[in-house]
Symmetry: C2
Subunit: 463 residues, 2 copies
């Protein structure tokens, strides 16, 4: 095979990049578990008809076909959407299906985290991949779900992302809004195509306010005054409950107050207030946050990396009431999803975060000659039995070459078994810190590397 | 949506099953890292032409198609195998591609582990899935790879699987053979279609010796005497180097000794000898092990769970010399792959292993009334800050109901904030072990659950 080239949109990391990604995933998982979320995985595929329930995403779905079916099953009618399988494009739709499928065996409210790859056949660009890892948390109730979870879930994400600050991940800002506020306000204005209006407002960052105002008039039949009011609402943001008063005042000035608006404002206010207390400075109410997906019914969330806002949201989600329903029972939920690949890709490409080495190995055991390999293996086994990651030199090359082997990989210590002494004299084992050059006698049954050298660490780049 | 049903061949676990799977994966990963293997992930897709290089597997490949391409790109010729993408069916082919793609940025010999899902469009049956998790280790060299890795890699797997014994995973037996032995012997007999003979011998367990003898004669043109010799070779097995002598004697009796056979026997003997020393009783030379894949060139391995032999191999692999080659450079390797889903599925379905609970949560903090939820949240935060997984009751129901919430999930402790006392009297916090009923005063800044209750544990079922 000729030397292969990368596939655009399908990111892969070198071993040291994978160390960074693994660290991010472990910190996320640890935080999720501290908050009582149970880990699950779902299969990568769903029936195509389920994936297509959300019209907007259909163009992104990858459909699967068994190669051997080419002239077989497919021709015989297996093209029906309920028989075909597609790769999931998020973890929310599969989770909703999992909940319905296992409802009788789960305890509600059910809190789960899920860290898996998803696939979208979009055009690849900076921060947008065709295959990427998401880390989701959701809680779903049976029949009902108390509002307080809409406050707690973004705070869990704030804590998870905050726990990555010390390895060099920038500060995050979680932008929150509430669908009831938007819907109540639009309906109060007399605009009843709420989803249509949201879809236009969602384009604000991309095309600017003038173009959105035009679209609102052209597509949603808004008057110039209604369009202006929508843009004014979208212009409101702030980290304290003063935001609530400003929305209320704006609605009043247009005579657009509704009960739904008041419900939404009470919820949004409670979220902003709790967040200001529990994670000061992290959560900001931003009334232009719309979220494209139409299944959200309450709080919605987006998250930016401070200083990297143009990357787009790295953690989004919201409250949904009708996503998981089997007709008889409904399982309302709220959740957020971190775009791990988008985050890690930026951490690596912007040189924000680095791994101290790309191998787990703390010690390389040298081999004096192939006849004594078994002794090096025994040293390695003794060190490993105490949890120290060890490799044994691949060949009994000159010691300088073996040290270079360690150096190339960032392995900090090289161990010389005593049996490796010249003239076959059995001396004590020695271990060399190849960074300082310091070499001293050591006993494989007790020697331990300094804690910071035991495993690769993830640190701010340049540290 | 109607209540969905499982998709045959696409296994999913309930949360407590996932705890078992996670534990298995963590033990494997820990062992691999102790031995200096670096973790990588590759994308799930490869160009179809790369996946089809091994003819045997082509019928199993899932091909991807972007839904929006239906009448677009595909019709314009994107059906070419080098443009189409398929899901990988193992982790060896993607790893070989990763090595070639990144050869200039990797240090050789390169040891990596890789734990990911793979997909095969086979007919699902017990232990055979269409989507499953594999855990692979491989080491590849640039140009050359010393034989000792063929000894070490199965021993790493023996250690990894052995580390699972104490949670209830049965003993394993690693069956080893060497392609050079088989090839040398067959050629010595005068049978030159070595791959053909191997393919027939590989059917021994399925169709029995008589049928294999017939096939050898009908398909490979063997004489009855040659067929008999092949079956006699396949009948040899044993855990010590006596096996080597028996093969040599058999070859001698047929006048089938060759240099290649001797090379293979020396390798196989070294493996059996080292294994008997380093992992007594685990490795058995079994001359009938053939492995279907034709890229193996030296040692080959299969692994059975003792008492569950009919499940088939749960960990297989071998030495390959030409899998990764860009024409100019070749990267010979050796590796093994654990079928994690097959193993976990058996552990769960046979009731061998169980998790003490399906949630990470060690403590449920009760909520006396919604006005005091913030105090329960504060208790939870204090406990979490010391690494204790905590959940807060979803609603301020009667305490009996909140205790039942914990009980249903296997959460061992329920915490009652002092503020929850009757008549709003602020007493000390109390924590109740709901298994024993014992309840005592506790301080959220210092109290810690017993180590064995901190996280869900994986234990032999029935313990």
């Amino acid at each position: 095979m000729a030397r292969p080239t990368p596939l655009s949109g399908f990111p892969e990391w070198l071993p040291d990049g994978r160390v960074v990604e693994q660290h991010v995933l472990e910190v996320l998982r640890h935080t999720f578990e501290l908050h009582g979320f149970a880990g699950i995985e779902t299969r990568a595929v769903e029936p195509l008809d389920q994936l297509l329930r959300k019209g907007e995403t259909s163009k992104e779905v990858y459909v699967l076909r068994r190669l051997q079916d080419e002239d077989g099953d497919q021709a015989r009618g297996d093209q029906r959407p309920d028989k075909q399988l597609g790769l999931h494009f998020d973890l929310t739709v599969p989770f909703a299906r999992y909940v319905l499928e296992n409802a009788g065996r789960l305890a509600f409210p059910f809190k789960r985290y899920q860290i898996q790859k998803v696939w979208r056949g979009e055009r690849p660009q900076d921060g947008r991949f065709r295959e990427f890892v998401q880390a989701d948390i959701d809680v779903v109730g049976a029949g009902e779900l108390p509002y307080h979870y809409e406050v707690e879930l973004p705070l869990v994400m704030a804590e998870a992302l905050g726990a990555l600050r010390d390895v060099g991940v920038p500060e995050v800002r979680i932008l929150v809004n509430n669908r009831k506020v938007a819907e109540g306000f639009y309906r109060g204005l007399g605009l009843d195509d709420v989803e249509g209006v949201l879809r236009q407002v969602d384009k604000l960052d991309k095309i600017g306010p003038d173009a959105v105002a035009e679209l609102l008039q052209a597509e949603q039949g808004a008057t110039p005054e209604q369009a202006k009011a929508c843009l004014e609402l979208a212009g409101i943001s702030g980290a304290d409950t003063g935001v609530i008063d400003r929305v209320r005042a704006l609605a009043g000035s247009y005579g657009a107050g509704t009960d739904l608006l008041e419900t939404g404002l009470a919820e949004l206010g409670a979220l902003v207030e709790a967040a200001a207390r529990r994670a000061p400075g992290v959560v900001v109410a931003d009334l232009k946050i719309a979220r494209g997906l139409d299944y959200y019914t309450g709080s919605v969330y987006e998250t930016v990396l401070v200083g990297h806002e143009q990357l787009g949201s790295i953690c989004s989600g919201g409250r949904y009431d009708t996503l998981a329903s089997d007709g008889k029972n409904t399982y309302p939920g709220v959740g957020l999803s971190i775009g791990v690949s988008r985050l890690v890709s930026r951490l690596l490409s912007a040189g924000l975060v680095t791994a101290t080495r790309g191998v787990p190995t703390a010690v390389l055991v040298a081999v004096a000659d192939e006849e004594h390999r078994a002794q090096s293996d025994a040293v390695a086994a003794a060190l490993r039995s105490r949890g120290i990651p060890v490799d044994v030199a691949p060949a009994a090359a000159k010691f300088g070459k073996q040290i270079k082997f360690a150096d190339r990989r960032g392995i900090p210590f090289v161990w010389f078994p005593g049996q490796a002494g010249e003239d076959d004299v059995v001396g004590p084992d020695q271990v060399k810190d190849i960074r300082s050059g310091e070499q001293k006698d050591a006993d494989a049954s007790v020697w331990t590397p300094p804690e910071q050298d035991l495993r690769p660490r993830v640190v701010p780049a340049g540290e």
